[in-house]
Amino acid sequence: MKIDERITVGMSDSPKWVKWKDRIHKIEKVGLHHSFREGRVLYHIFSVSTKTLCMKLRLDTETLNWKLLEISDGI
């Protein structure tokens, strides 16, 4: 499901937690990390999972803003 909302992410080497809609989601696993450029801007994408959800997070390296792009439960 597409979300596209600003979020706060706790990072230490890789994302550890996500604060979305005033709730903290603990990240259990980083499934994949990839990056791409749009023009000069480098984006990092982290496909992470909590106990119940898979989240696609995007870090904009110019503004250092995080966005939650998508969520999925695999069903």
Binding site: K29, G31, L32, H34, S35, F36, R37, E38, G39, R40, V41, I45, S47, S49, C54, K56, S72, D73, G74, I75
Partner: protein, 415 residues
């Protein structure tokens, strides 16, 4: 010809069910489930990759989403995410470069490594090296990713060996086991031998891979009506005939249309978008082109194509669009279009401008360069012709099947 008795120095690595497995790597909730990555997730969309679990149910690449879901109603269908797959390709590329500098990607999910200049690796057992590569892929790229690895004295047999067991296979074809392996394969199990080639071989009394290997060269030349027969004989005998890398001769972009479009006014913005995308890549690599080609495939199974030489090598998207649009008028599409493909050929790397009596090439060049600089800074299609913006929704980022030339571009762009 005796089978090549040299040690196996070629390794073929094939990432199993590439796009679908990468999606399962990214999302652990999808692991163990039938998953398909499709060009469009709507029922008519084409399945680009099926996960190992989906393949076991009979869901295959090329099927429609509708057919896949008819086999298994809970099939998870995902849109493709090209940058995810390109990044895994780049990580794989980096990993295999630790073993040899003589390697080449054959597609987004296939690499060929030549260990000829690394006798210590070869004598120390290629299978051990392959096992280490498999292990490192799991620990350094993703634990859900599996590769099938084939080892042989030549590229062709290494590919065949990689296809013997999927997923997660590791096989070698060499002088001591080739007869046994050939005896278990059908002619159409060989890459490059489909029904038409099999029929040619059948016509010469060749019905099995062993027959094919044992056939004299004259009979194979007669079957293929060319020197190709000799090449097949060498391949199956373990000698190298496929170590040729072809340089780039054209740039092209294509799109599969979901909607039923046949009017020129509907197709023109899509053509403009494709042409600008193609020209951006052409100029980015420092080329100009002196020819244009248009191909239209219709949903009724018919198709039309035509190429045309241009007056001189061009660089400006507007010149290519004008020529491509004329070709589209000639094609006069009257039934719904399935695929639209534009390409340019006759590439030159000339730095000097061919001046024109009737228009200012220097001004055009400056304008095009300014546009390219803006797009490089802010992203593709930040500026472009107004007509191309109408085609934006139809022309999406895709990975070309077997498109190794495309891989050169994104390797350069992600540094």
């Amino acid at each position: 010809m005796e089978f090549n008795s040299s040690p196996s120095t070629i390794m073929h690595i094939d990432l199993n069910s590439c796009f679908a497995t990468i999606e399962q790597q990214a999302n652990p909730f999808l692991r163990g489930k039938p998953v398909a990555v499709a060009a469009f997730t709507s029922p008519g969309g084409c399945i680009l990759a099926a996960s190992i679990e989906a393949k076991r149910l009979g869901i295959k690449t090329g099927m429609s989403v509708r057919d896949g879901q008819a086999i298994y109603s809970k099939l998870v269908v995902l849109p493709s995410d090209p940058w995810k797959y390109r990044n895994v390709h780049l990580k794989l590329r980096k990993l295999v470069s630790d073993y040899t500098n003589d390697f080449s990607p054959k597609s987004i999910d296939e690499f060929v490594l030549n260990m000829k200049d690394y006798p210590k690796l070869v004598s120390g057992n290629m299978k051990q090296v392959a096992g280490e590569i498999k292990q490192r892929i799991k620990s350094e790229i993703g634990e859900w990713l599996t590769v099938s690895i084939g080892i042989a004295p030549n590229r062709y047999l290494a590919k065949i060996a990689a296809g013997l067991r999927k997923p997660d296979g590791l096989d070698e074809i060499n002088k001591s086991n080739f007869l046994d392996i050939y005896s278990k394969l059908k002619l159409t199990d060989l890459t490059g031998i489909k029904e038409a080639n099999a029929a040619r071989l059948n016509g010469m009394g060749i019905y099995s891979v062993l027959n094919f290997y044992r056939a004299p060269v004259w009979r194979l030349r007669a079957a293929f009506h060319s020197i190709t027969g000799l090449y097949w004989h060498s391949r199956l005998s373990g000698y190298e005939v496929d170590n040729i890398e072809f340089g780039r001769r054209s740039y092209g972009n294509s799109v599969a249309l979901g909607k039923n479009l046949s009017k020129i006014e509907d197709l023109a913005p899509i053509l403009a978008r494709l042409t600008e995308k193609m020209c951006g890549r052409l100029r980015g690599a420092g080329y100009r082109a002196s020819g244009i080609h248009l191909m239209i495939a219709y949903k009724n199974g018919s198709w039309w194509h035509k190429g045309r030489h241009l007056a001189q090598p061009y660089f400006d998207s507007r010149d290519f669009y004008k020529a491509a649009f004329k070709l589209m008028i000639e094609a006069n599409p009257i039934s719904p279009v399935l695929n639209l493909a534009v390409s340019c050929f006759g590439l030159t790397k000339s730095e000097t401008l061919q001046l024109d009596l009737f228009r200012n090439e220097t001004t055009r060049s400056s304008l095009v360069k300014a546009g390219d600089s803006i797009n490089e800074r802010w992203g593709d299609f930040t500026v472009g012709s107004a007509r191309s913006f109408g085609g934006a929704k139809m022309v999406m980022d895709r990975i070309a099947f077997g498109g190794v030339k495309e891989l050169e571009e994104f390797t350069l762009n992600t540094g």
